[in-house]
Amino acid sequence: MVPLLVLVAIVVLLGLLIVGAYNRLVALRQNVGAAFADIDVQLKQRQDLVPNLVETVKGYAAHERGTLDEVTQARAAAASAGDLAAKAQAESALTGALGKLIAVAEAYPDLKANQNFLQLQGELSDLENKIAAARRFFNNAVGEYNASIQRFPAVLIAGMAGFAPRDFFDVGADRAALNSAPQVKFS
């Protein structure tokens, strides 16, 4: 009787451990998903900002067609990018193009004095900061999730239940540019 009870207790305990470990993994995966949705919201907002910015610059510097087209194309590419890696690449291209656009705007005193432009620029800088923060939070969550599914007891469950490792939101060479908002000086 006693050995049977011990056995039952062990089985129940084991079951609880498995349920607990599984639920932890689910929660961590959920965190990654939520963190990604957060980045996505910020990226979308930046994409929505671009047409306004382009229109404003166009009013003063219409012949900077090359830079303007680059921004518009980068925006379109970013908006249609599918998976994570493509998204990261398209977004970093957009960041570069926007940086160039702002640099070009430096040469136009009238544009620099435009209230609308200043406001858009402020919003852009704010968004870049938020994107950088959201991206770091996402990568932190991914790192935690990936490490968790590779640890010993959990790796068994992760393998059976299909918890696959996730990619980081890696912006590669432009990482430094994304980490800090573009510095704009009015001199």
Binding site: R24, A27, L28, N31, A35, D38, K130, A133, A134, R136, F137, N139, N140, A141, G143, E144, Y145, A147, S148, R151
Partner: protein, 361 residues
Amino acid sequence: MPALGLQTYIWNNNIRSGLLLLGFPVLLLGMVFCLTLGMIWGGLLPPGDAYGGAAAYALHLMIVDAPLALVAAGVWFVIAYFFNQTIIDFATGSRAVTRDEERDAYNLLENLCISRGLTMPTLRVIETDGMNAFASGVHEGRFSVTVTRGLLQALDRDELEAVLGHELTHIINRDVRTMVVAAIFAGIITLICQIIYRSIMWGAVGGGGRGRRGNVGIFLLVALAVGAIGYVLAIVIRMAISRTREYVADAGSVELTHNPDAMISALQKVAGHTHLDAPQSMRAMFLEDDDEGIMGLFATHPPVDKRIAALTQYAGGRIIPPAPASPPAQASPSTPPSDPPPAGPAGPWGQRRDAPPGPWS
């Protein structure tokens, strides 16, 4: 399980708080057990041979008495629970502000609440230069977040958001309630200790008119030891819970704002400027309280450099060199260890230092 990131770190600290909280009833029952044993040895209770020795008899008595003790604790809890709200309302002396008065702080707090689907707590301000903040309230829907004027002036937007996120996490986690429970348990144990102490004093003065004086000395000795140990342990556990809740609130703030750097720089700014007139029992709720006490064991808050180290290690924060006015803490690791912490209760919250082995070890 080791902390691998923000979420596992929060889980670990929550488990730790739970175990510490569990330490109170264990401590209470342990004290009752030891006292009973002392009474048996001292000849105040029958030796209990029928139960197979003094220890077994004491255990039996304890099990019989336990429900009674727990009911008494429950009644005390209910009374103190409601009384606590009144004390907090009275002691804070803060003023509730509207959106128009403190637009920035109000909007930040409201946005944080919206992101978590919370009813917004009342925002209160204390007009003082000290930089501090606390969350209060025990009842649903009557929470408030209080900040000082000094804090509003010294912190920038991101830092203020981080602080509000910290306090909001206290509310989300119902930490005030946890601390009330801890305070009540500690109060019960303190009361028992005082009863022991006073009855020994009275016994000594009254001369103990009983005939059976034989081993009463042993009982007194045991009672004194139990009282002293229980008294210290109760406070140590209570403060340890308070410290784990601070770590969780820091992490929760990062979870809300996604900005570990702002939390770090806010902590760096307030460190050393947190003075705020308040009763001792309220300090545990503050954003930061640098009344360290002996060896940090009786501190309500972990040292700032430990909190910052935790934020860099688990939340991906970066230490930005603090303002030149405040020298950087030596103990703070400028290069955060990149390897995961060793298994077991190590890591930045495993800061027991030279704590006596308590019921939670």
